[in-house]
C-alpha cells in the first residue's frame, strides 16, 4: 500500500467514526445500528495502521495486490450488510402497514360502536356524542 492510500484510509475511517458518534450524541441514531459502522471503521483503521496484515491475507489467498484484497473484502461485507438491510426494510414496511391498518380498523370499529350506542339511546344525545369524540 502506498503511504497516500494509508493516510486516506486513516482519514476516512476516523471521519466515519466521528460522524457516527456525533449522530449518537444528537440522539439521532440507535446504538444497535451504530455498532456495525463503528466496527467497520475500526477494521479500516487497523488495516491502515498495520498494512502487513493486509499483505498477509493477500498472500494467504494468493492474490496479486493488497488493494484488491481490500476491495474484495469490503464489497463482500457491504453486500451482506445490504442484504440484511433489505430484510430489515421489508420487516419495517410490513410493520408500518400493520400499524396503519390497525389504527384505521380501530377507528372504524370505534365509530361503529358509537353509532350503535347512539341508535340505542335515541338521537337526542347527538350533540353530546360529538363532544366525547
Amino acid at each position: 500500500m502506498t503511504p497516500i492510500f494509508r493516510i486516506l484510509l486513516i482519514v476516512v475511517s476516523l471521519f466515519t467514526t466521528y460522524y457516527i458518534l456525533k449522530r449518537i450524541r444528537q440522539s439521532k441514531l440507535q446504538i444497535e445500528y451504530a455498532i456495525f459502522w463503528i466496527l467497520f471503521s475500526g477494521v479500516l483503521i487497523v488495516f491502515s495502521l498495520f498494512p502487513w496484515l493486509v499483505s498477509l491475507f493477500t498472500r494467504m489467498i494468493g492474490m496479486q495486490l493488497p488493494v484488491n484484497f481490500i476491495f474484495l473484502l469490503f464489497i463482500f461485507v457491504l453486500m451482506v450488510k445490504l442484504f440484511f438491510m433489505t430484510i430489515e426494510l421489508s420487516t419495517l414496511e410490513n410493520k408500518v402497514k400493520d400499524l396503519t391498518q390497525e389504527l384505521a380498523l380501530e377507528e372504524k370499529e370505534r365509530r361503529d360502536e358509537q353509532k350503535r350506542l347512539l341508535e340505542e339511546t335515541g338521537p337526542a344525545k347527538d350533540t353530546e356524542a360529538e363532544v366525547i369524540d
Binding site: 450524541r25 440522539s27 455498532i35 463503528i38 400493520d98
Partner: protein
C-alpha cells in the same frame, strides 16, 4: 405514592396467568399493566378474557420498545415509581416492597440484584455478567453487582427520561451511562426463580451478539453521548 408494575410479555401464554394472578391476589396494592408485545400466541386473548390491565401492541417492538410503552403510560398517568417485571415468572413480587423502600430513600434507580449478599455462581452466563460489571467499573468507577438483572425500579425523573428519549433501552449500557451522568443507583438483594415454562430468548449466538453490543456500547459509545434531561412537573 403510586407504583406501577410493568410486565412486558412476548409469547407468554403459558406463564402470564400464573404471574398476574399471583400479583393480583397477593399484592393488590400495586397497580400493574401487561404490555403484550405483538405476541403470535394467545397472550393478549388470555389477558382480555381474565380482564387484566393490558396494553396490546399491534406489532412486535422488542423488549426495549415494549417496556418504553409501559413507561410512557406511567409517565402520562403520573406514577411516582415504575418497575420492570418479567412475565415468565422469574421475578418474585415479594421483593417489590423492599425495592420501593430503598428507592424512597432518594435513589433514581433500584436494581433487584441477585448478588448483593450472595456470591455469583460460576457459569458462562455469569461470566458475561462479570464482564459487563467490569466494563461498567472501568467507565464509571462504580460497582454494579448484577447489571443484567431485569428487575429494575425507576423514580419519576427516570420514568420521564426513559419514556421520552432514544437509546434508553432497559439494558446494562443505559445503566452504565446514567451512572456516569451522576444518577444514583442502589441494589437490593432479591431471589429469582428459574423460568417454569416457555423458552428463553437467549441462545449462544444471541448471547455473543448481546455481549459484544453491551461491551462496545459501555466501553466506547456511551462516553460520547450527550444527556437530555427531562424536567419533571
Amino acid at each position: 405514592m403510586k407504583c406501577l408494575v410493568i410486565v412486558p410479555a412476548y409469547n407468554e401464554e403459558e406463564n402470564i396467568v400464573r404471574v398476574i394472578e399471583n400479583l393480583k391476589k397477593n399484592y393488590p396494592t400495586y397497580d400493574y399493566v401487561v404490555i403484550n408485545d405483538g405476541s403470535s400466541d394467545n397472550t393478549a386473548g388470555l389477558c382480555r378474557r381474565m380482564d387484566y390491565e393490558l396494553i396490546d401492541l399491534p406489532v412486535n417492538l422488542g423488549l426495549a420498545g415494549a417496556f418504553q410503552t409501559g413507561l410512557k403510560y406511567a409517565y402520562r398517568q403520573g406514577y411516582d415509581y415504575a418497575i420492570q417485571f418479567d412475565a415468565d415468572g422469574q421475578h418474585r413480587p415479594e421483593f417489590i416492597g423492599a425495592m420501593l423502600d430503598k428507592i424512597q430513600e432518594g435513589y433514581d434507580i433500584v436494581i433487584g440484584s441477585r448478588f448483593v449478599t450472595k456470591k455469583k455462581p460460576h457459569s458462562l452466563r455469569m461470566l458475561g455478567s462479570n464482564l459487563i460489571s467490569i466494563a461498567t467499573r472501568i467507565t464509571t468507577g462504580r460497582r454494579v453487582k448484577d447489571p443484567t438483572s431485569g428487575m429494575r425500579m425507576f423514580n419519576k425523573k427516570m420514568i420521564a427520561e426513559f419514556a421520552l428519549n432514544l437509546n434508553y433501552g432497559p439494558e446494562p449500557d443505559t445503566i452504565s451511562y446514567l451512572l456516569k451522568q451522576g444518577a444514583t443507583i442502589a441494589e437490593v438483594q432479591v431471589e429469582m426463580d428459574e423460568r417454569v415454562a416457555g423458552e428463553s430468548y437467549l441462545n449462544l449466538s444471541r448471547s455473543v451478539m448481546y455481549m459484544m453490543r453491551m461491551l462496545l456500547s459501555i466501553l466506547f459509545i456511551q462516553n460520547f453521548r450527550k444527556r437530555r434531561e427531562v424536567k419533571v412537573r
